[in-house]
């Protein structure tokens, strides 16, 4: 009897711990589950200071320096990455395949948002309102394709070229 009530206490305590600021773990999040010795909690997110910051999405890219004119080397490299990691789901036109077509994306989104979305995909889908709206439309979570920072930047350049920037 003593054992049972004790176990129940342990379980209840565990439940309490869990409910403190933890979010359910998605099957395909990049982050591995925490170590045995650690409580399963995630740090609380600071609220974005302004609407402009919110439009940059969540991730490490807070400012992205744009080129003028476009960097042709970056475009070429971005095209290679697009063909291997992106083209399966995204057309260069405005037409939706699995995900939305890329035409006009650099008009719709800030460069920081794009960079954050393609590198920090899971957190963005979980928390960014614009990304969540796209999930409702497409019904497939965009795969995290583990782009390097350079790959992401080159893809952005390729998107800008695709949108007719010079």
């Amino acid at each position: 009897m003593k054992q049972v009530s004790l176990l129940a206490t342990v379980a209840a305590t565990a439940l309490l711990l869990y409910s403190c600021g933890s979010t359910p773990q998605q099957a395909d999040t990049e982050k591995p589950a925490t170590d045995n010795s650690m409580a399963a909690t995630t740090p609380a997110d600071p609220a974005p200071a302004t609407a402009a910051d919110a439009a940059k999405g969540k991730g490490k890219f807070t400012t992205v320096a744009l080129t003028d004119p476009l960097d042709q080397k970056m475009i070429a490299s971005g095209k290679t990455t697009y063909e291997v990691k992106c083209a399966a789901c995204h057309k260069l036109s405005g037409e939706k395949l699995v995900g939305p077509g890329w035409k006009g994306v650099t008009e719709r989104r800030k460069p920081e948002w794009i960079m954050n979305f393609i590198t920090n995909t899971d957190e963005m889908i979980d928390k960014d309102p614009a990304a969540q709206a796209m999930l409702e439309e497409c019904m497939v979570r965009m795969p995290n394709q583990h782009l390097t920072d350079d790959e992401a930047r080159h893809l952005l350049e390729y998107m800008r070229a695709n949108d007719g920037k010079k």
């Binding site: 004790l6 990049e30 045995n36 497939v140």
Partner: protein
């Protein structure tokens, strides 16, 4: 009776529960409870016995984490069925789809586990495998010639310099046709030493020591002071070849075979060996090409003890010894005579003195026999019935499994007194303490792998899962804290702290480094190429479609190869692939990987194919059609996905 025992145990436990804290300590459930989302402390690698595989459990929960395909085909992920992995199971007798996997050893540096590789033996068709612990994948399999019943394997030396393989069933060397009754003259056992490359882990059969016809049973390497030595238990030194149950149990003592492998290595280098023809397969998996290749080797170096003095000695050991286990200090050699009523413990220090002082009592086929008492540290008296295997806790204690009396017996290495005994359910075989055969055992848990299960779990017809039992050995008394069913028939097992390997895990393969001959690097490269009756389909998979997903212009009698590249670059997003009526298997393709499934349609028809691993909300849509037309039909090669399907013509 059992009910009474349970009641007594419960009563005893409740007596101890004075406070909440002691109650938790005394509570088996809390000791094995790993909360949802939390990790186990320990990886437990367990041999699969007659299923030929290795299973991986978490301890203390006993949760099954993975089955690693090693010596048997595995339809679950296409191992042995995919074109890339067929070569792993190749032997001099072609692809053998099954073996009997008995023992495991984790690689070591300075006598401690280093978390790099896991070695596994195949007992039936002698082979040794190396598994990479960053991918949990079988990377290499080496066949052993001049051997049969590769039982005393794959035990390793202290720095993983060598992996050994010893012959349980003596056989004639080479392929001469001899009468079975000529056993004494023509049959030999061999002790094979396989070198392991320090960096790559690559194995090479360095030399084989030719021994008299007898059955080598188990083995372990020395450590510390006994670093240069390897010890093999033997039985059937009667050299019987029929009704061994009786005829191989005649003598009071068989032997522990003590091999000075350092000396053997020197003799091999000095040219004392003889190179002889022998064919055996060496299979390696190339991570860059994502493909295995099988090479047939043609020669082996034999060392004859006659030409190599001071290399081998026989230590008499009662009676038909099975386990041959070395304590963490390297000083004590425990031989467990499975028909003996005691456990002899030999001293390495005394052994070397006996050799120096030539305290011999004759020879066995030319190999000096050391006087029993000269090498003996002492005997554990009345330990139980049927001692088999011994593990160590690093605190001066040894734990021996007793098959006949179904118990684990804890005894002191120093004074050989029995300290504690606990029952197992039932008929225990191997024991395992994490690191229990290394210089640094973890003294917290012991697992008993039982041969008979009977009433321990819900019954499942005549065949039952084998039971394993977890004991807490951190205190003076062993405490049973968990039963868990296992897969196949576990023999030996290994375990290490999770922290040693968990952070080294490969999560996906970088698509840009995929060097497979048939990779489709992006959907643009998806293609179908015909050469004669061979059709190569370069297919891509990503959530949630396949390219191409419509294929026409394939005919009865064609050999169709689906080379499926998984374009995903995220952890835990494999795609599967299967096609209707294919007498083969399915594939599981890890992110960034290319895997090939062969299909030779012998009937015309429309063959749907699909992803077999639930991958997204639109997984059910991840499918396609192959049209197979009668031979000679006028159907052009056409393939594609979506709107492109009609526009892409044959190339």
């Amino acid at each position: 009776m059992l009910g009474l025992a349970v009641a007594t145990t419960a009563a005893m436990q409740s007596c101890k529960m004075k406070t909440a804290a002691t109650a938790v300590q005394g509570d088996a459930a809390s000791k094995t409870y790993v909360a949802p989302g939390k990790y186990d402390e320990i990886y437990n690698f367990v041999s699969g016995g007659f299923n030929g595989q290795v299973s991986v459990y978490g301890l203390p929960s006993g949760r099954l984490l993975k089955v690693i395909p090693v010596f048997a085909v595995n339809p679950e992920n296409g191992y042995g069925y995919s074109e890339e992995t067929k070569a792993m199971l190749n032997t001099t007798n072609g692809l053998i789809p099954w073996d009997d996997q008995h023992h495991l050893d984790l690689s070591q540096t300075n006598g401690e586990q280093d978390g790099r590789w896991l070695f596994a033996n195949a007992n039936n068709t002698p082979r040794v495998a190396r598994i990479d612990l960053t991918t949990f994948k079988t990377m290499e399999i080496l066949q052993i010639p001049n051997s049969a019943g590769n039982h005393s394997s794959p035990f390793i030396t202290e720095n993983t310099e060598y992996v050994v393989a010893g012959t349980r069933f003596s056989v004639p060397l080479g392929s001469e046709d001899v009468p079975i009754s000529s056993f004494k003259d023509n049959f030999h056992s061999t002790a094979s030493f396989i070198s392991v490359d320090k960096t790559s882990g690559k194995m090479d059969l360095a030399f084989q020591i030719v021994l008299p016809g007898m059955n080598l049973d188990l083995s372990h390497a020395g450590k510390g002071p006994s670093h240069d030595w390897f010890f093999f238990s033997s039985y059937n030194t009667e050299q019987a070849y029929t009704l061994l149950e009786v005829n191989a149990s005649q003598k009071d003592k068989d032997y522990i075979v003590a091999v000075n492998w350092k000396k053997a290595e020197e003799y091999a280098k000095a040219g004392k060996g003889k190179k002889v023809p022998a064919t055996y397969a060496h299979n390696t998996y190339d991570e860059h090409k994502q493909t295995a290749t099988s090479e047939i080797k043609n020669e082996v170096l034999l060392l004859d003890p006659k030409d190599c003095p001071d290399m081998i000695y026989m230590i008499p050991c009662p009676k038909s010894p099975h386990g041959c286990d070395i304590d963490p200090s390297g000083e004590f050699i425990v031989g467990s005579g499975k028909l003996a009523a005691l456990i002899p413990v030999f001293s390495f220090n005394k052994l070397t003195k006996a050799i120096d002082g030539k305290q011999f009592e004759g020879d066995f086929k030319g190999i000096p026999i050391i006087k029993y008492e000269a090498a003996l540290h002492g005997e554990v008296q009345k330990p139980g019935l049927g001692p088999l295997h011994t593990e160590f806790d690093g605190k001066g204690n040894a734990y021996t499994s007793m098959f006949l009396s179904s118990e684990v017996v804890k005894w002191s290495l120093k004074d050989l007194q029995v300290l504690d005994r606990v029952p197992t359910y039932y008929s225990v075989g191997h024991l395992m303490i994490p690191g229990g055969d290394t210089k640094k055992p973890g003294g917290k848990y012991l697992v008993a792998y039982n041969k008979i299960t009977k009433d321990r779990f819900l019954p499942t017809g005549p065949e039952l899962a084998q039971s394993a039992q977890l004991y807490d050995i951190s205190g003076d008394k062993m405490q049973l804290i968990l039963d868990f069913p296992t897969f196949g028939e576990p023999h030996y097992a290994q375990a290490c702290q999770a922290s040693l390997i968990k952070d080294k895990q490969v999560k996906f393969y970088d698509i840009n480094k995929n060097g497979h001959d048939y990779v489709a690097m992006g959907e643009k490269k998806a293609n179908v190429v015909r050469k004669g009756n061979r059709v190569d389909i370069y297919m891509t998979a990503i959530r949630s479609h396949l390219v191409p997903d419509n294929i026409e212009g394939v005919f009865v009698g064609d050999e169709v190869y689906f080379h499926v590249t998984n374009l995903e670059q995220d952890w835990d997003i494999p795609h599967g692939f299967a096609i209707k009526n294919n007498p083969n298997a399915e594939l599981l393709i890890m992110p960034g990987e290319t895997v090939t499934l062969k299909f030779s349609p012998d009937k015309q028809g429309i063959y749907p194919f699909y992803c077999t691993d639930f991958c997204s909300a639109l997984h059910q849509e991840m499918s396609g059609y192959l049209r197979v037309s009668p031979k000679g039909a006028n159907v052009p090669l056409k393939f594609g996905t979506g709107e492109t399907v009609t526009s892409v013509a044959a190339k």
